[in-house]
């Protein structure tokens, strides 16, 4: 009976992972093909095999714009989904997300300082596109790293997870307050530059930045698969986890570092991308009906990436020259989806 069960669940696992990989591939190709200029799918595939579509402008669009953007979308969706999952498991709280530890606030503070103070010192808006991008990435990165440091030190001191959650929230509040003060004393161009950063963007990541972002995200994702077992034990609660031989302090630190690294990196390069972190874990648990991290982690990596590609496609408004800020698309299309699933399942008793 047991063997049959494990055999069945293995088959189900392979089916889900296989299916999701196929969907991800399709979404990836579509996101390359569709946009303000639609490139035929045949030609897009040809670009991959023969590394040329036959038309120079299409090659340029694919190589310099669509490919980095699609890769960024994949990284954002999976990284934020995974950090959300880990926070929800660590805090045993369905409302937790990648940003509860104050990472966005830290990144936002870094960016705000650079934009507002940089303007006073002169020259921020005069910087060329690439230099400006790197400056934003570095400031957001420094901001999140600082928060990571503070939260890690707090985690070593504090025993209870809930207290840690509150410390993260408090830190976020303080950061927002400082940002408000900075905004209050600055000029409208700067405020606009900051507001645009806070919309989130997938399109501003160039190849040179991808070379930095991708390795970090990949390391984070692989580590998150490797800690599936302690995460499963944590689902039963801290006491059970300890009695199963898990070093709770160490695993908590590992989770915090992975989450901060993933969410911090994504926020540094793409701004605070909303919704994905909280919703993707819930959507995955509801759609695939499992809490087992060994299954859930790869599912969220694939599903989060697919969902982000789809949202990005919608934001492009294919066929038109306009595009929407990514944050409004994720929320506008994602929230009804979550509500629909919740109503269909009739309860939140799935996490």
């Amino acid at each position: 009976m047991i063997h049959q069960y494990f055999e069945e669940s293995r088959r189900k696992w392979l089916l889900i992972i296989g299916g999701l990989s196929c969907t991800l591939t399709i979404a990836f190709v579509l996101s390359l093909a569709l946009g303000s200029v639609n490139i035929p799918i045949g030609k897009t595939l040809q670009f991959f095999i023969g590394s040329s579509t036959g038309e120079r402008s299409w090659d340029l669009i694919l190589l310099n714009f669509r490919l980095p953007k699609a890769l960024t979308a994949v990284a954002v969706g999976s990284a934020l989904g995974i950090s959300g999952l880990q926070m929800q498991t660590l805090f045993r709280n369905p409302l937790a997300g990648p940003f509860v530890l104050g990472i966005t606030s830290g990144a936002g503070l870094g960016v705000a300082l650079v934009i507002f103070l940089g303007f006073i010192l002169g020259g921020f808006l005069e910087l060329s596109g690439i230099g400006r991008n790197w400056l934003l990435v570095l400031s957001a990165g420094m901001g999140s790293f600082l928060v990571l440091l503070i939260v890690t030190l707090t985690a070593l001191k504090i025993k209870e997870n809930v207290s840690l959650l509150i410390v993260g929230l408090m830190f976020g509040t303080v950061a927002s307050a400082v940002i408000s003060v900075l905004q209050f004393f600055s000029q409208s161009e700067n405020i606009q530059a900051y507001v645009i950063w806070s919309f989130g963007s997938l399109g501003s990541v160039a190849w040179s930045e991808l070379y930095v972002m991708m390795p970090i995200v990949i390391i984070g994702l692989i580590s998150s698969i490797l800690i599936s077992k302690p995460l499963n034990a944590l689902l039963l609660g801290e006491h059970y986890a300890i009695s199963l031989g898990i070093n709770i302090k160490r695993i908590r630190l590992v989770i915090i570092i992975i989450t901060s690294l993933l969410a911090g990196t994504i926020t540094a390069f793409c701004g605070p991308v909303a919704f994905m972190g909280i919703a993707v874990p819930h959507l995955s648990r509801m759609l695939f009906n499992t809490s087992n991290h060994l299954l859930l982690t790869p599912v969220i990596i694939l599903f989060g990436a697919t969902l982000m590609l789809i949202f990005d496609l919608i934001a492009q408004l294919p066929g038109s020259d306009l595009s929407l800020p990514i944050n409004s698309v994720t929320a506008l299309f994602g929230a009804p989806f979550v509500i629909y699933l919740l109503i269909r399942k009739k309860s939140l008793n799935y996490s």
Partner: protein
């Protein structure tokens, strides 16, 4: 074989700078095959004791020897192979299946990713059979009743293959039927050579299945003994503060102070027993020398002074009428 031995163990917790000691100088031994019920009032340190000897929280003083080794020398990984727990924390894993939850008990033995080997699957199957939860093995945890969940958690503890299993209030939320089932299951597990330590408030059940009781008292040394001895010498009444309430330990019920009209009950034994209970609850005194006689017949039939009644309810109504006459004649 000794599975647990405490040596001058002191337990408690520290909040900030102050330390609160709940129990000290605990010297107890637990052997394999034994069921021990740990009893005491709320806040006396039962759960703290459980957490201390399973290394969830630090002990304040003294030592606990688990499976021949000092708690201090054991890593938490080693403890997890010697002690398994069933706690009062409700696992919030609604859509985890029963088998998945039971399988988590294999964590101390499985590799880094938690993949199960053939041996692990055999142990899981054995634990599921032992606890009779085959019929819900594919269900999700969120669909289970309290009684079913408790058995699943016990199965999970069993898969940890430890010599000592500790359960905190294992029957607190269960109905009578499930209570008995869980307790019989624990007794059976003990008979297969494991030690079972239960913290409980359920006196009736601990009297029936526990080989010994450990009684924790406030500001006094703990008491360790066979249940019957502790009843006779009054230790149980003292620990649970039952002496104020006229608790009848033999029947496990409150003996209400009766000053009502005396009634005599005769007839078949089981029905007589329940008739007497109903009378006492309703404020009558049961007295073999009383003038009023209630006859209990086999077919759930009663008669008072030649009149027939169909149920205890009718008898009580009749007696109430009688009692009001009785009062008015006084």
């Amino acid at each position: 074989m000794k599975t647990l031995e405490t040596k001058s163990l002191a337990i408690g917790y520290s909040t900030g700078r102050s330390t609160k000691t709940l129990q000290k100088e605990l010297n107890v031994t637990l052997h394999s095959g034994e069921v021990i019920a740990l009893m005491g009032q709320n806040g006396v340190g039962k759960t703290t004791f459980i957490k201390s000897i399973s290394k969830l929280i630090p002990v304040l003083d003294g030592d606990a020897i688990i499976g021949g080794k000092s708690l201090f020398s054991l890593t938490s990984q080693e403890v997890s192979q010697k002690v398994s727990l069933v706690l009062t924390d409700k696992p919030q894993v609604g859509n985890m299946s029963v088998i998945e939850l039971v399988a988590i008990g294999r964590h101390p033995y499985s590799g880094a990713l938690g993949f199960l080997k053939e041996k692990d699957k055999q142990v899981i199957e054995w634990a599921i059979n032992k606890t009779n939860i085959n019929y819900i093995a594919n269900h999700k945890i969120g669909e289970l009743s309290d009684g079913q969940l408790q058995k699943v958690l016990i199965a999970r503890a069993l898969t940890q293959e430890t010599d000592l299993i500790i359960l905190d209030e294992p029957v607190a939320h269960l109905d009578l039927n499930n209570k008995i089932e869980v307790m019989l299951l624990l007794k059976e597990i003990a008979q297969s050579g494991k030690s079972i330590l239960i913290s409980t408030h359920d006196l009736q059940i601990s009297l029936q299945i526990a080989d010994r009781l450990w009684l924790f008292n406030f500001n006094e040394p703990m008491v360790n003994g066979v249940p019957e001895d502790l009843i006779i010498n009054g230790a149980i009444s003292k620990t649970l503060s039952l002496d104020h309430h006229d608790y009848d330990l033999r029947h496990g019920r409150l003996s209400l102070q009766i000053t009502g009209i005396p009634i005599k009950v005769q007839g078949e034994e089981t029905i007589t027993f329940w008739m007497e209970q109903a009378l006492r609850r309703s404020g009558f005194a049961v007295d073999t020398n009383a003038n009023i006689l209630v006859q209990c017949h086999n077919n759930h039939h009663f008669s008072i002074a030649g009149k027939d009644y169909e149920s205890i309810q009718e008898v009580l109504q009749a007696l109430d009428t009688l009692a009001s006459h009785h009062l008015s004649t006084l």
